[in-house]
Amino acid sequence: MRTTQHEPHEETLGERLRSQGISRRGFLKFCGLLASSMALAPAMVPKIAAALEQAKRPSVIWLSFQECTGCTESLTRSHSPSIEGLIFDAISLDYHHTLQAASGYGAEEARAEAMKEHYGKYVLVVDGSIPIGNPGFSTIAGISNLDMLKEAAAGAAAIIAVGTCAAFGGLPKADPNPTGAVSVADIIKDKPIINVSGCPPIPVVITGTIAHILTFGIPELDSLGRPKAFYGQNIHDRCYRRPFYERGLFAETFDDEGAKAGWCLYKLGCKGPVTYNACATLKWNEGTSFPIEAGHGCIGCSEPNFWDFGGFYKALSIPTGMTGQTAVYAAAAGIAVGVAAGAMNKKAKMDADSLHKTVTVDELNQESPS
């Protein structure tokens, strides 16, 4: 087919990166790192490179509702040339009220214009939960979060719910949920929604998800709508302290000899066994470390209702009361049969998460069916 001479040339991602002075070798390095962050086989690198080279720069509209701006901070604080920085620069961010210069009605006009121009094609990113108790609890330019979400979702090709607030309700939804906070998926039912949970999410997980949509479309999702590439494994299964767990070596306090020797933080409340996220491999602050490396247990921030798990420092992520001796028995049982609590029956865990009831040691020790 012949293209007409007047058709405007839409810049591809490859062209955009090269116009920023990134050579093809640089691009290849970038694609290798991207594949690594997406937990894809290195053999996929040429395919990623070919797809990204040709991908059109997507229009992205970013809405922030009941949130703390931590998710945006997570993304924008990365140093360059990080992969997340490069992808973030390569998209066409047409509306983000925290980052854009325009404000008030000017900003809203920009949003309306971008939605009109790219109707049906833009990627909608949402951070923050939506209060449905009273629309006045959270508004932008006088528009309730609920109305703005519905309006913007109508023309979106896909929605990325960034952060645990947008994905599952997060902190605003924590008991007693004074604003009636709900997640994006609780409201929008007719669009593909990708939950990128975490409080905040790892920056490269946010951009890696965008890159996946650009290269191979909607990523494969787990039962909670999260990309399996990033949330397919739990922290415990990838934790470098796991050998201590297996040998029954636990820190009992944050300053005892076990803590100094880097033993497992299970008894100090580590939620790694029931938390699905990529911290143990992708790490934080440009791959420097992750909380467990800094000596603090995982708090389970990428899981629904993690604020109501019953205390960050109570052993095991059991919604109610399993502390002290019970937790010790649970740990010991885990070691005895060589099955980690991470392999706990996922359904039992999810049921417990929602019902706030105790999970038994037997359930913890069942091999996960998935």
């Binding site: 390095k29 302290r241 440009e286 791959g287």
Partner: protein
């Protein structure tokens, strides 16, 4: 303050991933010989303790080539003592390692001149030669 300055000295830990990686490398090397397949193993996304990194380094040994490229921060390419097995380490602007691959092939992929760059080079060279020849013709007339 660097991380190492914090007085927490973790005991030697073993993730159990060293041996499988060694076998994966050996397998990839035989694939290279048998079918010419270029192999790549991503070490960054595997849980590996510092002791295991060191043990792998010892196992691979040092070869003849040690190159540093300047692409989006530095990239260091080191052939191991086994021909065809390369360590490829990517660094950011602050010299922090952000990627670590073992490549099994004649040269690491990133070292090869890229096809599109070669094509663009040919087009540029053709234009320059044509322009020079035009100029020469103009001078001659």
């Amino acid at each position: 303050m660097s991380l190492h300055a914090i007085p927490v000295h973790a005991e030697a830990a073993v993730t159990g991933n060293l041996r499988p990686v060694q076998h994966e490398i050996r397998q990839a090397l035989s694939e290279l010989i048998a079918h010419g397949t270029h192999g790549m193993i991503d070490l960054h996304s595997l849980p590996f303790s510092p002791q295991e990194y060191a043990a792998l380094d010892d196992f691979l040994g040092e070869g003849e080539i040690d190159l540093t490229l300047n692409v989006l921060g530095k990239t260091r390419l080191r052939e191991s003592s086994y021909a065809g097995i390369w360590r490829v380490e990517h660094f950011d602007d602050n010299d922090k390692r952000i990627g670590y691959f073992i490549e099994i092939g004649h040269v690491p992929e990133i070292l090869r001149s890229q096809c599109d760059d070669i094509k663009e080079g040919l087009a540029t060279m053709t234009t320059i030669l044509a322009m020079e020849e035009n100029d020469n013709e103009d001078d001659a007339t």
